[in-house]
């Protein structure tokens, strides 16, 4: 009974949005799709590119994957999700290369890698437990927005502290830590941002309780 109440709570629209954006943010709380962020997002424009690529591929893959029936065994289902991702990649790559050819090219192998990202795999299964297609869509859209927002903020901070620039323009900050432009610094910054999100969530919780 308690579990059912929890499930209903989890499924209310406000909770879905809050969880997707903050509490269960795919990158800052869930640790999903880390590789492209750490390796490719070292500037604000690259963050925008990843956000666009991730949004297009993930949204359409999950949308089509939601029609895969649960009756199919998991062994086959998981291949189907990956296959759908690869199919979506074909028009997505043509479209994105039309609008941002250089930026997509700079992403290298991390662009096609998005077809098999951990978010798609986990969400494709999780949507079976949501009540309706509407809530499923809401969940997917806000998770993608949450991921994109976190990635853009991450790219912005990483560019400023790692290169001392904003969109390639020097902004003249007193100290630049070039390690933040490397994968090592990428992991460190991600860890620090994840910790900050927890502090914010904890503060919000305390304020609400008061």
């Amino acid at each position: 009974m308690e579990k059912e109440t929890d499930l209903v709570k989890e499924n209310s629209c406000k909770t879905i949005i809050f969880n997707a954006l903050l509490k269960k943010n795919p990158i800052l709380a869930g640790g999903m799709v880390v590789a492209p962020v750490v390796i490719t997002v070292d500037s604000f424009p690259r963050a925008l590119t990843l956000a666009a690529a991730f949004s297009v591929i993930t949204f359409f893959t999950l949308l089509i994957s939601s029609f895969v029936p649960k009756s199919i065994v998991y062994t086959v289902r998981i291949i189907m999700y990956a296959f759908i991702g690869a199919l979506v990649y074909v028009p997505a790559s043509i479209m994105l290369e039309y609008f941002m050819p250089d930026e997509i090219n700079e992403m290298g192998i991390f662009f096609p890698l998005l077809i098999i990202n951990s978010f798609i795999i986990s969400r494709s299964e999780a949507i079976f437990f949501l009540e309706s297609k509407g809530k499923m869509l809401l969940d997917i859209i806000f998770c993608i927005i949450g991921y994109d927002a976190a990635v853009i903020l991450y790219g912005l901070i990483r560019e400023i502290i790692g290169s001392g620039t904003f969109c390639g323009e020097i902004i003249g900050i007193p100290a630049v830590f070039s390690v933040f432009s490397e994968p090592a610094g990428g992991f460190l910054l991600l860890g620090i941002m994840a910790a900050l999100l927890r502090v914010i969530l904890l503060t919000v919780k305390k304020v609400r309780q008061k």
Binding site: G31, T75, I79, A82, Y89, N117, P183, L196, R198
Partner: protein
């Protein structure tokens, strides 16, 4: 002698210098999941290595067919997924037919070890940078072993990362990212760092 030297260098590069997790961040999300359940770490690592080795050999032959097509980059991920799916299904069928006990053990996690960024990433990387069959094979195995190495290093400190002694804000995932970052810095040192004097 030259061949052996090349194999050793390629293996060292793929395991240490270009480590799957610490240098390329491939499969970090999988690492987060796997490090939690430390019972099957070695088995999981072996199945990742097996899959990367087999798919890299197949990638070599597929790459030979498609290398002259300029537009191959658009549909090549689809081909790789088909290869991955075929290897995954055939492995499960072979185990089910010839080693039932192993099949029962491995089927809980083989899907995670087959469909992750480390495996697809290794296919994409290898097809981009490798030339010879030996390069493909050694890199495929090396990337799998590099993944095992990274998973073990994180599994060793897992209890401390999730310890009550760690500040709440950093406990778990944030601290894990910071630890991977520090280890990544250490691995980065293998590629050389020169100071001006």
């Amino acid at each position: 002698m030259e061949v052996i030297k090349n194999i050793i260098l390629t293996a060292f590069t793929s395991v240490i210098i270009e480590n799957t997790i610490f240098s390329r961040a491939l499969g970090t999300s999988t690492l987060i999941i796997v490090a939690k359940n430390r019972k099957n770490l070695f088995g999981f690592g072996l199945s990742v290595t097996y899959i990367t080795a087999v798919v890299s050999v197949l990638t070599y032959f597929v790459q030979k067919i498609f290398r002259f097509d300029d537009n191959a980059y658009i549909y090549i991920p689809l081909v790789y997924i088909l290869i991955l799916g075929t290897v995954y299904i055939l492995t499960l069928l072979c185990l089910w037919r010839f080693a039932v006990s192993l099949f029962v053990k491995i089927r809980k996690y083989i899907h995670v070890s087959a469909f992750n960024c480390a495996v697809l990433g290794s296919m994409l990387m290898i097809s981009k940078y490798c030339e010879t069959f030996t390069d493909y094979l050694v890199n495929g195995i090396g990337m799998g072993i590099g993944f095992i190495l990274a998973v073990y290093m994180i599994a060793v400190i897992y209890d401390r990362i999730y310890s009550e002694k760690a500040p709440y804000a950093f406990r778990g995932y944030p601290l894990m990212m910071i630890c991977i970052g520090i280890l990544s810095m250490a691995f980065w040192g293998f590629s050389g760092h020169t100071l001006n004097y």
